[in-house]
Symmetry: C2
Subunit: 248 residues, 2 copies
């Protein structure tokens, strides 16, 4: 039995998130069906993490096991032909038999895209925001995140998480002519965390919340303190990093 890592990208608009759910189409389920079809046996995949309904991935990884995959270029061609147009497999590579897409991931990065101007080609891919936003102030607040290691205030209340500790490596807003992009990298993310952080940082950018209040929210460790979540369509899982030793 060999283990393979799939590098996957998807537009999340038409899916109820990554994770398989009853009575709702998920990316994981669509992927498993396509793999099972072309490999002619039941295939299960384990993703690096979940994404919510409507959230996209520029780079997601998932592992699965099979005796022998054959030529990877041939496999990629066949699986992409079977998959719908909004899911693409970018690459496949063999990994160590005990490599794990979720547990071995060391850093995960998300980006959140705010659209400052109406663009007919970006529907479902940005949060169209009409507020005047103070970007330097939002970056001051984003910097405060790096000083803390418990983010219960930005976690969904219903969660399977046993603790709320995350090591945030970087968190920064990038100003572009027609977009404002939030980049955040951490060792792990809690459910709904990026969208809750973005929603709260936008309150800071609108002048509705001071830096002291933002810091107080982090310290409070209660979700109810933070701002409402930014909508899912602006969120992209953008990069997942692994240690090189997992690759054979």
């Amino acid at each position: 039995m060999k283990r393979y890592f799939l590098e996957v990208a998807y537009k999340g608009t038409n899916y109820h998130g990554w994770q398989i759910q009853e009575n709702a189409g998920s990316v994981q389920d669509t992927l498993q069906r396509a793999l099972s079809k072309i490999l002619r046996r039941p295939i299960q995949v384990m993703g690096s993490g979940r994404t919510d309904t409507g959230v996209h991935a520029l780079q997601q990884f998932a592992h699965f096991d099979i005796d022998e995959l054959g030529a990877s270029s041939d496999f990629l061609k066949r699986v992409n032909a079977v998959l719908p147009s909004d899911i693409g497999i970018l690459d496949v590579r063999e990994v160590a038999p005990d490599a794990h897409a979720r547990f071995d991931a060391t850093w995960r990065s998300y980006r959140y895209v705010i659209g400052l101007r109406k663009d007919p080609f970006e529907d479902g891919l940005v949060w169209r925001c009409f507020y005047e936003l103070d970007v330097p102030q939002m970056n001051e607040a984003a910097n405060l995140l790096l000083r803390f290691d418990d983010f219960e205030s930005f976690s969904r209340v219903k969660t399977e998480a046993t603790h709320f500790r995350c090591k945030i490596k970087s968190a920064k807003w990038e100003q572009k002519p027609n977009h404002l992009i939030f980049h955040i990298t951490a060792n792990r993310f809690l459910r709904g965390m990026v969208r809750a952080i973005v929603g709260t940082l936008v309150l800071v950018g609108r002048g509705r919340m001071t830096l002291e209040e933002f810091e107080g929210i982090i310290k409070a460790k209660r979700r109810v303190e933070a701002g409402s979540s930014a909508p899912p369509q602006g969120l992209f899982l953008s990069e997942v990093l692994y240690p090189v030793h997992i690759f054979v």
Copy 2:
């Protein structure tokens, strides 16, 4: 009465083209409804030209008349809020009372985008092409277009056109890492012309047609000689130029 030019962009996926049709949603109709709603009187618009079902526009122009529009920034905000997310008004400006979006346009440019790699975010925005294409040969053929001035071979058979003369200024394929983009500029285009040209140039690129055969098709002036049309989703009206004297 004042005349205004609207600069419009739209994703054509959900529309039956620009032109108003019975029993089918068009961009023109959607635009007229939005304008009539916010300006509180029946507004009709005249576009620079038609685009077919599923074809997009990065820059289309249309004129309409009204006594007084008021502040353009306020107008843009209101009309974009009423329009659906796949149509955007980029700008509005007053023009001479006899300026005409269709008859005054001097050059029109289209681009046609071929996708060389599956990209989940490009659905409906490229023609996903699996052929090996000889791009230099396709550019040789594209160059031949500049030597002729009658393109009946690339016109739809059912047409209201009284003649088939077009002055093609430039026609060129651009090779990008994951895309092949055809840029073409002419004083006018016949119905279905760009898609028929692209479909035939792809035959050249696949080695199914020689340069001599391609030239013979242009000379034949019969649509049946050319290759089948490339699908609409890769086509974008990209630029329309006007002489400066029409602007007040």
